[in-house]
Subunit: 543 residues, 2 copies
């Protein structure tokens, strides 16, 4: 059977655009001889639709889209993801469903069984789990259709779940597995995902068509990478990462294995961040970005990523030197914008800063200069960038990295301003890897920027290491605490010094209030700050 895999960049709630895109993909697949075309999970409305799902009107719009799509399935069947209503009074109002549509009609609706409710997933908030298992019969083949997480409890090895939908479905003797996914990118997710697909094919001795959403929805970046795997667990077809594509594949007849194409981890993170920026702007209807270029590695990286995503002419860099800025900060920044060919402005912050000091002098007189004056400089920069943003329609990109966000090393309403935090899930040590990757074919980021000691330059001769542990140690402790959720006793057991562990964990927990007001962060790790990590602000634990 010839099957189309429609790996589409869906826009949450944009029913007109999504419906048009789905219909076009059906036509493309049909023109290439496909008899069936498979879309991603909740593809009609986009994933995650979040609390839009609580609006009756939104669910009605999903059904109207399905009805419109159905009109284009006269000669080809489509499996489309959309919510469906639970006819029972008790339980949640919705199922997360795969709609099997053919002959201009909805033929069957299959519901998701395993509802992820952890990290960034909130499915138990909206959906009732399925408990009825049935196949879809089409052109003499029996299809076992599942939705995303449903294939993630293979062999009951996933401790989260008791049910195993494919164990149920395989008793009905299917010929082919079809999975609709919206599986967001992290730097380990694409490997986990392939393991799961291979394991299913081998366990059930069935081929699988696996279609993933592509594109970013603010924090979440979906990488695509849809595949077809044979019943022997051989890769037959692979769609690209971070690109839309409709590809038609002959499934089941003498499969010809191919080699899995896997870019480096750093390359994937790079491409994820570029798509994250691009879709944030594209889906919100913006075109132009602005950022403050400090001469440090983080802002240099954000500029490179934004230029890649939006085009050099659409990214304005602003150099905002102060009395404490080193000469090389300006020179290095100028060298970078020259390398990229992108526009820049220079706005010294000294005058507004001094005026604030004068205005506050009656209140501050006799008091020593401290964090208040340091933050003031950062806030002058934030205010100037936002004034540019408001006047010219630029969206401000935030350059805070994950190490800084973790320990609260940054000024709220200052360098923490911005519409999108590009590096908020990238540790400082990972930032260096990205910089080297960007320079892989020649120097884009001047080597000075990469080699200098990190500094906020808010007082004379300041270095990050004055206030923070060295980043290579800091990042290791943060990783164990944030990604691995190890507590202080475990960390000390791993060999980290107790005083250091206590200091770092206290900094992380004390700064929940600050992160609460941070911009949305592009998620590239299995545990990012943002919707997937929900901490009490007033919590006293280790704080």
């Amino acid at each position: 059977m010839k099957v189309g895999l429609a790996q589409l960049n869906i826009h949450v709630g944009n029913f007109r655009a999504n419906t048009d895109k789905i219909i076009k993909a059906i036509q493309t697949a049909e023109a290439q001889g496909a008899e069936l075309v498979v879309f991603s999970e909740l593809g009609v409305c986009g994933y995650p639709s979040r609390d839009f799902l609580e609006f009756d009107d939104y669910i009605n719009k999903c059904k109207e889209a399905i009805d419109e799509i159905a009109l284009h399935t006269h000669n080809i069947a489509a499996v489309v993801g959309a919510p469906s209503r639970n006819p029972r009074v008790d339980g949640k109002d919705l199922f997360n469903s795969a709609w099997f549509i053919y002959g201009s009609k909805v033929q069957q609706v299959i519901h998701k069984t395993l509802l992820p409710t952890y990290d960034i997933f909130d499915e138990a908030r909206y959906f009732e789990p399925n408990c009825v298992f049935e196949l879809v019969e089409y052109k003499g083949k029996k299809l076992a259709i599942t939705v995303c997480e449903d294939i993630w409890n293979v062999g009951n090895e996933n401790p989260l779940y008791i049910a195993c939908p494919m164990d149920e479905l395989v008793r009905l003797k299917p010929d082919l597995m079809v999975n609709l996914s919206s599986s967001p990118f992290s730097y380990q997710q694409y490997e986990e995902r392939m393991k799961v697909v291979y394991a299913n094919c081998k366990r059930y001795n069935l081929p699988m068509i696996y279609v993933n959403q592509v594109g970013a929805q603010t924090e979440l970046i979906f990488d695509g990478g849809s595949v077809v795997v044979s019943e022997k667990g051989e890769l037959i077809e692979q769609l690209p990462f971070f690109q839309e594509e409709v590809r038609v594949v002959e499934v089941g007849e003498k499969p010809k294995p191919i080699t899995y194409h896997l870019p480096s981890k750093t390359a994937l993170i790079h491409d994820a961040l570029v798509m994250g920026i691009k879709d944030y702007f594209g889906k919100l209807g913006f075109r132009k970005a602005i950022l403050g270029l400090s001469g440090g590695i983080d802002s240099a990286l954000v500029l490179c990523l934004a230029v890649k995503a939006l085009g050099r002419e659409n990214v304005m860099s602003v150099l905002l030197p102060s009395a404490y800025s080193s000469g090389h900060s300006v020179d290095d920044s100028l060298a970078l914008v020259k390398n990229l060919g992108s526009p820049h402005e220079i706005i010294p912050i000294e005058e507004p800063f001094q005026t604030y000091l004068k205005t506050l002098q009656p209140l501050f007189k006799g008091l020593e200069s401290n964090i208040a004056e340091e933050n003031l400089q950062a806030r002058v920069r934030g205010t100037l960038l936002m004034a540019m943003s408001n006047k010219f329609g630029y969206i401000l990109l935030n350059t805070t990295n994950k190490s800084e966000a973790a320990v609260g090393y940054g000024t709220l309403y200052g360098d923490m301003c911005g519409g999108l935090a590009v590096l908020g899930d990238v540790y400082k040590t990972q930032a260096y890897e990205l910089a080297h990757y960007i320079n892989r074919d020649g120097e884009v980021i001047p080597s000075n920027i990469i080699t200098k000691a990190p500094s906020a330059e808010l007082r004379p001769g300041q270095k990050d290491s004055d206030s923070l542990p060295e980043y290579d140690i800091l990042d290791k402790v943060l990783y164990q605490y944030i990604e691995k959720r190890h507590g202080p006793r475990e960390l000390v057991g791993m060999g980290f010094e107790k005083a250091l562990v206590d200091r770092i964990l206290k900094m992380v927990n004390m700064n929940e209030w600050k992160r609460f007001q941070a911009p949305p962060i592009l998620r590239i790790s299995p545990k990012a700050f943002g919707m997937g990590r929900r901490m009490p602000i007033e919590g006293k634990y280790l704080g």
Copy 2:
């Protein structure tokens, strides 16, 4: 049987303080002759502990606290709320449990069955539901112990749930119902809650001891209001709202009904907000607040509430007049701080504002003054307030109301600054009710402040009504959309004008990005912005 109701103000993650408080309450109850003392849901660690629950170390600390508490139950039994580990490999790792402790030992652990997963609740994220039903036998009585939501499906009338724990337990012939709750305040929750308690008592013909958490945990405010209700559904005992108390009650012997004491809705909202401020400061270890006093009703209200919560000497008002501020703004503000006897400063913003304009002049020249200059003034104010905050250790209170937050009428990093948004769940029309309530025994807020037309005063003669629909209409539409989740078609069906509905809903949806960076909001409604309302930023639905 004499039973103690321990309505305590628990601090999330503060195991030392919570354990001490629980032990002290056991001793108090015992001294008053109680044989049993009941605490609130998850009282050992606090509700909501959120993702702290994912740390093994946190769960260990809960168990250590239980073990310490147990040592004080030699002559009195205690029912204490804490997580417990799920011994099964499959499913979530934890139960949300009531620990029955007596004779210095844990005797029995009862698990919660109905796990709320909607609005601000995320229990399916952490907990496995119970499916084993048993009573606790103690001194010849059989206790049916349930946890919070477990009593909220009485007569299976709650469409969210299929199970009904009390229907199961009643088959085992209990003598008494005991419920441990952490039921957060909203202006309709206390009535719903009493209906549920009464309905349970009548349906099962059993008395109930209902103990609720009290105190605020950043966004969520728990109002207490614990009760004892007889098997006939008569109120026997009522603990106060918004106050800690340990009260010992004789249960079951010739109950003497009392009248339910219910303050007005506005009085409860007032007290909730005062407790919200007080606990935010107390639990985070802060003492002093600062706010910008504009001469408008919102900042006047926040000042009054903060003075009530923190003491007049601990709330600094700053008047930040601009060239566009009307003379009465300053006079009215001065009259207010005089009435309250609280300190103030005046910092004109003209100089920093003009310096910014001068600094930006090379870039802005020839362009008309617009939103950029308006926002600039708001940001100068935010920066000055934050400088005061950093220098003197004040925490900035945000004064944005729910109507403004809904439609994005406010400047990010300007008047949207602050550690806590006191009125972020209070519509403008409700703000007037609160102001009248504060003035109930004489003028505290000058009448000028209440009667003048709302204005941001960012350009000459500006009024809110230039950019927004009148608040009485706006708030009605917002209420239907936000609290009631009615879509555009339903709103038009209710008689609202289509163009107005479309305009308002678009403003709400377009401003998710702005609200994302707003301070935490004290929740007083059934649907507040914040953790209970999760919307996609890039969503295109009605946006």
